[in-house]
Amino acid sequence: MTLTATKPEGKVLIKGNYAIANAAVIAGCECYFGYPITPQSEIGEFMSGKMQELKRAYVSSESELASINMVIGACSTGAKAMTSSSSCAVSLMQEALSYATAEELPVVLVSVMRGGPGLGNIYPSQGDYNQATIGGGNGDYKLIVLAPGNVQECIDLTYKAFYLAHKYKNPTMVLADGLLGQMMEPVTFGDYPYPEVDDSAWALTGAKGRGRRVIRSYAPSADDQCVFLNKLYAKYALIEEKEVMYDEYMTEDADLIVASFGSMSRNVKSAVKIAREKGLKVGAFRPITISPFPNKRLKELSCSAKKFLVTEINMGQMVRDVRLAVNGKVPVEFYGKGVGSMIDVEDLVDKIESLIEV
Amino acid sequence: MSHIEIDEQRCKACYLCIDECPKKLIKVGEKVNKLGAKPVEFCDPKGECLGCAMCATRCPDMAITKVFRG
């Protein structure tokens, strides 16, 4: 596997990890900080060469705690900066993510899930949906989380992550999994499709010709903190209003809607196709932003559909969000497994049939 | 003439400056400031101050805000 040229012409066959890394370079990422962990180490490996070649910043950090805090430092100057990691190592970033949210910094983090809990193993998994969308940082905060379903989306959503992070000054995560990170698919890169966000109003650049700027999370009084939190949550409401993305397939007349995210959704779509061929009224729903979650759309769909099936490679995480959105209107079933490759299309079809028969 | 200026509101009454002054020109005052402390006062009737800035250098709170020499 050779490293791709920065902006390759036309279609190229590329691994998800390299696709993400190269997209970050094209998006203008100025700083990469990272510590290796399977199954995403290729991102840092690609960056180590490419960033130096382009005279941008790259640090092999001593730990993930250091990586994420280096990103915070770089972002505080308005730079486009990122790190990437996986599962147990993303656990170590929770404090910093909570800080970055409170400090309203455009941190970009790529998380490529592997099996958990603990060290777990390096097989694909979707076990970090909770970690990504709720997190273990302290206090009330939210990340923006984008979940690509194929390698092309790894690119598109990496672009988008930089844009949204800077537009909303909020840490933004691209949540992939080992399968997406390791697989290859033909993709096109194109140009970074978003406008540059002006950060001159807040970035730290030295207090020349202006008063000093302070980026902090410490609120000396409880009242200040409440005011801040209300502002923060107003921002989240705005993001939910403006930025929710999802993908639907044959949901219009579906009795059963199968919801999934990330690479699981490819199999789901295929299963739905097969089920449709069998005359079953099934549709597929995939949140692309898993935070904010497409609550509104799912609520709408719960008026037409008779049942939902949520399928994930975990013990049932996104299913909570679907249940909250559907709010008891129709039953929401779960079909998953702890870790490993995606559930087979055939098994999904069986499951769909069993649910429609009932 | 050498002298110092003290910002009474900043003084935390640690009294480190008192020991530091080679001429012993700094004394505890009578007033209580907004911090609830009794700030020091500069008391140099004979114009003995050297302008050595020992007091200001020692003061942790920059309550001795200015020192003039000569």
Binding site: T38, Y123, L179, M342, V345 | -
Partner: protein, 181 residues
């Protein structure tokens, strides 16, 4: 139409690269395609494999239970993936390392001594590419031309000198005449 392929062998036999060449050839042929490697224990050793799925519409699933074509470059891989072949699927086995036993009767076999052939060509390491030639002929799903183009894309600049020999290997594989069964 959707077809799935597994290429498997020892670490060092270049199965991941062969898979990438195959996937790249399908890409040049304007097919949808996915390539997915085995990445198991973080430790080295053992067998390596990758799965390629080619489709005229979207690829339905990256990692399939049932496979259309298997290229097994060693015996461990042969044993491991034989059961995963679809009925009527095809096993292309490296008969330099794999015994010609046909446990399943519902599939097709091609036994080609690709290691030996590659050695004769000058480099045992080209067995992987050679077997792609065999596959091209046997499957009729991809042309040697597209595979050649793919080789050109996939080989890194400092390895481009290997191109001519590898093209030879492809053709040798394509022209291989399996013993009639």
């Amino acid at each position: 139409m959707e077809k799935s392929f597994i290429i498997a062998g020892f670490g060092g036999q270049g199965v991941l690269l062969a898979g990438e060449v195959l996937a790249s050839a399908f890409m040049h042929d304007d097919k949808n395609v996915t390539w997915y490697p085995s990445y198991g224990a973080e430790m080295r050793g053992g067998t390596v494999n990758c799965q390629i799925v080619m489709s005229e519409s979207e690829v339905s699933s990256v990692n399939k239970k049932e496979i259309d074509f298997v290229i097994a470059l060693n015996d461990l891989s042969f044993d491991k993936f034989l059961p995963r072949l679809k009925k009527g699927g095809m096993m292309i086995a490296n008969s330099s390392l794999v015994k010609e036993i046909k446990k399943r009767t519902d599939i097709n076999y091609i036994f080609a001594p690709v290691t030996k052939m590659a050695a004769e060509l000058g480099n045992v390491k080209m067995a992987n590419i050679l077997s792609l030639g065999v596959l091209a002929k046997a499957s009729g799903l991809i042309s040697v031309d597209k595979l050649t183009k793919a080789l050109d894309t996939v080989l890194p600049p400092h390895r481009k000198n290997l191109l001519p020999k590898n093209i030879e290997a492809l053709n040798l594989g394509f022209n291989f005449q399996p013993a009639l069964v």
